[in-house]
């Protein structure tokens, strides 16, 4: 009930609209501002036409009522009038088409780019590759949002940016012309960040591109915008736009971390360490389908508990996780340690009795 009151209060109070977001954002790139301009132009033109058309209609509804004694006229044709209302709309439309074409041609031109990011959609997470810098990672819905989905109202309010937060953000430099190369690994996704004016389908087998030159430091959020299956609503995008200097620092740090992982992949891990790491990796990457409980969602997503593969030979297990099968994604993108950990976890959690998988096993299977 309280909500209802708030809601209707809101409807009456136009100032509150801005706060609650009723209009398109202007965004932080030239493209997004152009789009906003087009949007507002077409909107106001429509309003103007509506005022004229509906004005005439309501006037006649009011003035030409039988109850007021109106007597029907008998005219039913006027070539002149019809010519006017064919030609005038055409002129208006041409007036809209010209600026729209300019914006379109500009936003499709990605040749000015100074750097590229490759974005790959997976069911239901994003993979980001920095080809030149050799950085590559996966970005999942953050765990607190995931936990709050079926939880309480308070849980959702406490979750940091409920449903719009990820475990690892895309980091981009400010004032740099960036080309996004967008593709998918399974079904069609769509990478959308409102504030950049970038929304582009991720088609499996093809690469689409888009560009943005972001002129304000900050955090920007978006969502997958193409139905991609069960968790389509749960694959957000978060981008940290940082100064060029900070960006360089970030790159160096990522590269160092990667080197550390490569180093640790050569050593032999203890089962306990693998299990602990494996649980996190599992919850982030696998639980969407196979479920936290390991029970899966048969018949589409098999259970891990009692799975023949998870309890069988290591080679088969590594094979399906590395190479995928049908709706089971390819997980080459995870590093050897994560993969070894997650498989060890799958083989020993949920009452399973499989062996331990070492990073070196994964490495040699690649």
């Amino acid at each position: 009930m309280k909500k209802l009151v708030v809601a209707f209060g809101l409807l009456l109070n136009f100032n509150a609209f801005a706060e609650y977001g009723v209009n398109m954002t202007e965004g932080v790139t030239s493209v997004s501002r152009d789009i906003y301009g087009l949007h507002m132009m077409v909107f106001w033109v429509s309003v103007a036409i509506a005022i004229v058309v509906f004005g005439a209609m309501f006037y006649s509804l009011y003035a030409h009522r039988q109850s007021k004694g109106a007597v029907a006229a008998n005219f039913h044709e006027s070539t002149k009038a019809e010519l006017v209302w064919t030609v005038v709309p055409i002129i208006i439309l041409i007036g809209m088409a010209v600026p729209a074409s300019k914006v379109l041609i500009d936003l499709e031109d990605t040749t000015k780019a100074e750097m590229s990011i490759k974005i790959t959609g997976h069911q239901w997470k994003w993979q980001y590759d920095y080809p030149k810098e050799g950085i590559s990672f996966i970005s999942n819905l953050s765990q607190d949002s995931r936990d709050a989905v079926n939880g309480t109202d308070a849980g959702r309010e406490n979750a940091d940016n409920y449903l719009l937060n990820v475990d690892k953000r895309l980091v981009l430099p400010v004032d740099t012309s960036i080309r996004f190369l967008i593709t998918s690994n399974d079904v069609i996704h769509n990478w959308w960040v409102r504030d950049f004016g970038v929304k582009q389908d991720a088609n499996p087998g093809f690469i689409n591109d888009a560009w943005a030159k972001i002129d304000k430091i900050g955090t920007y959020r978006g969502q997958c915008a193409e139905l991609c299956g069960k968790d389509h609503g749960f694959m957000p995008i978060v981008v940290d736009v940082v100064s060029k200097a900070d960006y360089k620092k970030w790159v160096v740090k990522q590269q160092a971390a990667k080197a550390a992982v490569v180093a640790s992949a050569t050593k032999t891990w203890s089962k306990a360490d693998l299990m602990a790491k494996g649980e996190t990796v599992y919850n982030a990457n696998c639980a969407a389908c196979h479920q936290k409980t390991g029970l899966g969602l048969p018949p589409v997503f098999p259970a891990m508990k009692g799975s023949k593969i998870a309890n069988g030979p290591v080679a088969d297990h590594i094979n399906i996780v590395l190479h995928g099968k049908g709706a089971m994604p390819v997980f080459k993108i995870l590093n050897d340690v994560d993969l070894a950990a997650v498989m060890t976890y799958e083989r020993n959690a949920f009452g399973n009795t499989g062996s331990v998988v070492q990073p070196s096993d994964v490495k040699s299977a690649r």
């Binding site: 190369l181 399974d186 499996p204 087998g205 093809f206 690469i207 099968k325 049908g326």
Partner: protein, 295 residues
């Protein structure tokens, strides 16, 4: 009621509901068959039988009514409109598959090779070679998303072998059918039967050669699973072959009806409807020959 203004309105009928049950059964059986359900095949066969029964019954009723002279020229015209727009809908059905063919040849295959705004795509397909017939040969990773292994043909169908012969046969059959029509108009019964038999023979020969050609192609590894080339090849020629089969069956029925003396020189919609259908199948083949086999 006045004579010139007579409308024909038929009685109630059971055939449609039987037909609905028939095709619904057919489809449900088919779907189950594909999912490996034991009884799928038999249910499918049952549905097919019901459908065939309905066709016999319904069309038989129409034929009887027509022969007993209760139709007027208006009904005849309705049938004509019906048949022509039905054929148009068939044209649009084939258009979807031709559309797929053109799209794949002109757009998606070149794009996969990096044409136009897809310059970055080859990154995904190291070693991809573009080119229409090459598609099934050089795509790396020869397993489709669905897990099906792609079949790589060793050679493609030779345009100037069986397909060219088949083109000749079908074109010829169009001509013989037209002769049959002329004979019908002129009331020469023996000639009609002769030309019709010739048409049916040509159509059947076409089908025979088509099956032979499929045999060769299959042997050379050109299968439904040979990528988009195999997909469009078999779906287009397959649906066409199916239409030829239906056409041959219909022509046979017409032959039978002619022997029964159903048609007169100026009242023979049944014949003409089938003839239109046959010419349509003919024209589709020309499209196939040019775009699937030749270019």
């Amino acid at each position: 009621m006045s004579k010139e203004q007579a409308y024909y309105v038929p009685h109630g009928t059971y055939w449609p509901i039987i037909g609905s049950i028939g095709i619904a059964t057919l489809f449900v059986g088919f779907a189950n068959q594909m999912h490996g359900v034991e009884w799928g095949g038999s249910v499918m066969a049952l549905g097919f039988a019901i459908t065939v029964f309905m066709m016999f019954g319904w069309l038989g009723q129409v034929v009887n009514e027509s022969v007993s002279g209760i139709y007027n020229s208006q009904v005849d015209r309705s049938f004509r409109w019906g048949m022509s727009w039905f054929i148009f809908s068939e044209v649009m059905f084939f258009a979807a598959f031709f559309g797929a063919l053109f799209y794949a040849r002109q757009l998606s295959v070149p794009w996969l090779g990096g044409a136009d705004n897809n310059i970055y795509t080859p990154e995904l397909w190291n070693g991809f070679k573009t080119g229409w017939d090459a598609i099934a040969f050089t795509t790396p990773g020869a397993t489709l998303q669905s897990g099906v292994e792609m079949s790589v043909p060793t050679q493609l169908v030779n345009t100037w072998g069986l397909p060219a012969l088949n083109t000749l046969l079908l074109l010829l059959s169009g001509v013989t059918l037209t002769f049959a029509h002329h004979a019908l108009r002129a009331g020469h019964r023996h000639q009609i039967i002769g030309w019709l038999v010739a048409t049916i023979a040509l159509g059947s020969a076409f089908l025979g050669f088509q099956i032979m050609e499929y045999g060769h192609a299959y042997h050379d590894g050109l299968k439904l699973t040979s990528g988009i080339y195999g997909s469009t090849f078999y779906m287009l020629t397959g649906f066409h072959g199916f239409h030829v089969t239906v056409g041959v069956i219909m022509l046979t029925v017409i032959l039978y009806r002619i022997q029964k003396g159903h048609f007169t020189a100026d009242n023979h919609f049944g014949f003409e409807g089938v003839a239109w259908y046959w010419h349509f199948v003919d024209v589709v083949w020309l499209g196939l020959f040019i775009f699937v086999y030749w270019l």
